[in-house]
Amino acid sequence: MPPKQATLGYVRPAQTRLGKFFGKRDPPVQQKLALSPRKRHAQLNASGEIGEGKDGVIDDEGKQRSDVASDTSPSKKRPHSPAPAPKRTADKGSGSIKAEESGEDGLHDESDEGPIAKRPKRTPTASSDIDDAASEGSEDVKPAMRRPNGTTPLSKNKPAKVKAKALERKPKLKVKEESEEESDAVPNKEGKGSSPATNDSPAESESEMIDEEPDSEDEGIKPEAAEKARETVQTLLESKSKDPYPDWKPGEPVPYAALCTTFALIESTTKRLIILSHCSLFLRQVLRLTPEDLLPTVLLMINKLAADYAGVELGIGESLIMKAIGESTGRSLAVIKADQNEIGDLGLVAAKSRSNQPTMFKPKALTVRGVRDGLMAIATTQGNGAQTRKIAGIKKLLSAADAHSAGKGKGVDITKDKGGASESKFIVRTLEGKMRLGLADRTVLVALAQAMVVHEISKEGKVPTTEQLERGETILKTVYSELPSYEVIVPAMLEHGIFNLEEHCKLQPGVPLKPMLAKPTKAITEVLDRFENKNFTCEYKYDGERSQIHFVSPDSQHQYLSSVPSVKSEKGISAIFSRNSEDLSKKYPDILAKLDHWVKDGTKSFVLDCETVGWDLVEKKVLPFQQLMTRKRKDVKVEDVKVKVCVFAFDLLFLNGEPTVKKSLRERREMMKQTFEEVEGEFGFAKCMNTSDLDEIQTFLDESVKASCEGLMVKMLDGEESGYEPSKRSRNWLKVKKDYLSGLGDSLDLVVLGAYYGKGKRTSLYGAFLLSAYNPTTETYETICNLGTGFTDPVLQHLHALLSPSAIPSPPSYYSHSPVPAHQPDVWFPPKHVWEVKAADLTLSPRYRAAEGYLDGVEGKGVSLRFPRFLREREDKKPEDATRVRDVAEMYRRQEGVSKGKDGGGGGGGGVDDDFEY
């Protein structure tokens, strides 16, 4: 945790926690309930705790407590070790010590809610919560900051609410289990524990007043949503109209635990509306208490450190994370790897791993800001020993995670609620870049808009109307699509308000926007149906890399705040971004170097949407995609460029200081033609034709395919609908691909040779398979592709059951496959099963061996399938009846792009056509 964040205030709680220092072993208490083997620990722990409690907040029985209280408070603790011994035996186990202790605390009225309330939701952590809460309850220093407990009036509601939620969300059985557990732990409280639901009504209604309005609006937001869905939301909102995490002190950093609580809630559902309401509720709370933490909160929600184009990457892989988990929890790497294979989610592994190695004093609780700073520090660590320092950074975060629950021998119970609100789980997932929450970026955006509107309107003491909410959403969506950078938008929004956002945040060169996408179609007639009676135009769909060129001339008056450092220079801005907003300037320096060839003088600034295509200088024609992909990704030097590229522009989004996205396509095209001039082999306009005649379109399509294009783009030409809609897959743009029309005519029948263990959803099944074609001449099976799509879950289960018994440790000698270790499947099978597979395309790859001997002039590469898709099992076929490699070679040769290319289309190993939609 960065030094900055701590304040003196922390010190006291930290010291109090000293109790936990030795009390860190209180967790076993919980184990005690569950796991008899740990009994001894548990007891000992309880005894350990006694000595250290500082402010008389000891986790122990009342009498012990009071006598310690009287003599320990301000100074250092006194030696205490012998005292506990008798008690240890007296109480049957620390479980009961706990119970009594919290019962004791219950006497301080409010503090009792903390533990109980938390129980259902964060069961795994509960036992340590209890004593935390207890200590804060009486100490009252910074309660909200550290732990959810009952010091603020709002939290009064928690019991009611959480209870309600527990009932809603959990299977009945679990609830029952839990309440049993609860009663175990808090016997004399049990009655109270459940009663607050009804009894606390004064406090509850108080908070409802705060939150109710917004929530009632939430439903209004989706007028179009089905009635049923709305009802669900409504009941949901009613039952939990308060924040799931109690308020922290206004102005203080948002506790990370609060965010995790929300994450856990989100994870527990798959319903979008409910996810949305959780998000929005939490953002509202952040806005109300600590608006300056809104940006880090939002960024952590979408799991990005910075906007994509800033190129900030954590640069850590699974193995690094595993190492860090191992080091901070004292488990060996092998055990963690085994866990990972079994569980398939490092986040859960981390949660589970807490912790055989208890820590000394409790670290400070994590804050949202602190987590983000920590991640940023990890991301920006470079140079000597970067790996070690990155691991140190991760360890720092991990050891501070779950401060409330750390040290229990067993860690978080990951079988319950997917690990619940465990901080380490979410930190690791953040590090992995996979949150697995089902929280779409879009949802965060909407939630943010709602939260902002509600926040602003309710500041004036009014209730926001449905229209206002809708308007806020639209505004934010529009602004974000044109300027996808929360770093710019969030501060502007906080300063000027959401309703004035459009004036302050506009499309600007230097900040890449998400490109507009086209809807796929199956036939030209479909196109005609869509554009009937409209003006539309057809363009070649070049098979290259979608790019956005941003340019601001050095003499431009206007200053644009680009957060991309590499792009900014004294020469203004000139940069190329990918469709995913990554900075491609280092990949295509040759394009940038030639900008002045085709940009007419006097152009101040522009943003151009285009396709970058490989260009054959000799034949003067477009090269296949596979060859473009052979270019280096980074640090390309202009003079080393082997594959020349040509830019085909088809849209203009910004020109001379003004966004043009709202203009019609006809106007934009006109402006584009005035601003740029074609230079052969460097820059061209996408070839287009305005027609509505079916035959002409068909001819045009055929021509486009002959010109090595993918097919056609058909676009609305005039009117409002022809505007540029960033980031949308719009029906105003349609694509007609040759793949869709003809595809790769036949499917292939391939033999399964091996499989890879699945991850995530496919944990404990096979995630992908290694397939092969048959070579009858040599009687070998030659690998052709990995296959991971086209399976339904039941099919995967079936295949796993079918294949796993026959797994063999190593490949038979008659398999021809890549010897590279990274290319080996996790398990091998004897050749037995034949599957029918369909693919989009054939390509060459050094990773596979199919048809190796049948291709002229190609060494060390086999034919592979692009986008293979599982169709069905062919039980009727024997492995020897599988598709022969000769046929594969033939199919490859037949392929348009290849048969026309002189050299057979190079080798685009692993070239990824990210334009393809399944």
């Binding site: 030094p3 900055k4 964040q5 701590a6 304040t7 922390y10 010190v11 930290a14 010291q15 000293l18 220092f21 030795f22 860190k24 072993r25 076993p28 740990r38 620990h41 000992l44 722990n45 005894s47 350990g48 000595g51 250290e52 500082k54 250092k76 603790k77 006194r78 030696p79 205490h80 070790s81 012998p82 080091e327 901070s328 004292g330 488990r331 060996s332 055990v335 912790s355 055989n356 190695q357 208890p358 820590t359 000394m360 004093f361 409790k362 670290p363 400070k364 140190a392 360890k395 720092k396 991990l398 050891s399 501070a400 040290g407 021998g409």
Partner: protein
């Protein structure tokens, strides 16, 4: 604050011993001496050091000054000192830098360095005085040897103190091993004594990686004191000249690997 140390070696070794555990930390100076307390990143181990005023000659410090320093930087500067140079530390009342002067004891060479300080907001943690169930004093070299030998086999060591003696044992993939020490008095060389002071038998498991790290302090003192009690951190103490000390605490491991 001004403190003069007859031998730079002392500070060099202290910093050398802890710099792998802790990157940045505060040296808290007050009229009784210089204290340091810091935990490693994972909060598993804690270093605590006290250099009492008597260790210096002279020592002057009028108010409490925290000196936040990056230990890597400090190491770099301390490398510039000869072992028997006279080292003087100087800092203002609310310092931005700390000044180190090395005077050669033989020649008239005088070198002077300033290190920029950092603002480290560190909790000061009260470490409870504990009556340990077992206190073992042994030659520091012996302890170091045990740790180094056993880490070859396993990641963790279990230390078991009984009235028979103290047994360090470990089990790893390749096999297991143990070292047992009994009370032993060497009249001629008292620094080789092994003393075991036992109130009740204890057995705890610790991460060897940390212990090996602690052993870097072996050069500071001929003997080391291990204090154990069930369910509390292990205390490893190296006595320094006067009644100053360097202590390491290490949280025990719970349970076995499942």
């Amino acid at each position: 604050m001004e403190a003069r140390l007859e031998q730079a070696l002392l500070l060099k070794r202290v910093v050398e011993a802890i710099k792998d555990l802790v990157q940045d930390c505060n040296f808290d100076c007050n009229d009784t001496g210089i204290a340091l307390q810091a935990m490693d990143n994972s909060h598993v181990a804690l270093v605590s050091m006290l250099l009492k005023a008597e260790a210096f000659s002279p020592y002057r410090c009028d108010r409490n000054i925290p000196i936040g320093i990056n230990l890597t930087s400090l190491t770099k500067v301390l490398r510039c000192a000869q072992n028997d140079d006279i080292l003087t530390l100087k800092a203002e009342d609310s310092p931005d830098t700390i000044n180190l002067t090395f005077e050669s004891s033989e020649s008239d060479r005088l070198s002077e360095y300033d290190i920029k300080l950092m603002d480290i907001d560190q909790d000061h943690l009260g470490i409870p005085e504990t009556e340990y169930a077992a206190t073992i004093t042994m030659p520091s070299a012996e302890f170091q040897r045990i740790c180094r030998d056993l880490i070859a086999l396993s990641e963790s060591v279990s230390i078991e103190a009984t009235k028979e003696g103290v047994k360090f044992s470990c089990a790893g993939d390749i096999g297991n091993g143990s070292v047992t020490l009994r009370s032993h008095t060497n009249v001629e060389k008292p620094e080789l004594n092994v003393e075991i002071d036992l109130a009740e038998p204890v057995a705890l498991t610790f991460s060897l990686k940390y212990l090996v790290n602690f052993c870097k302090a072996s050069a500071l003192s001929g003997s080391v004191k291990l204090c154990l009690s069930n369910e509390v951190p292990l205390l490893v103490e190296y006595g320094l000249s006067g009644s100053s000390w360097l202590r390491f605490y290490l949280a025990p491991k719970i349970g076995d690997e499942e």
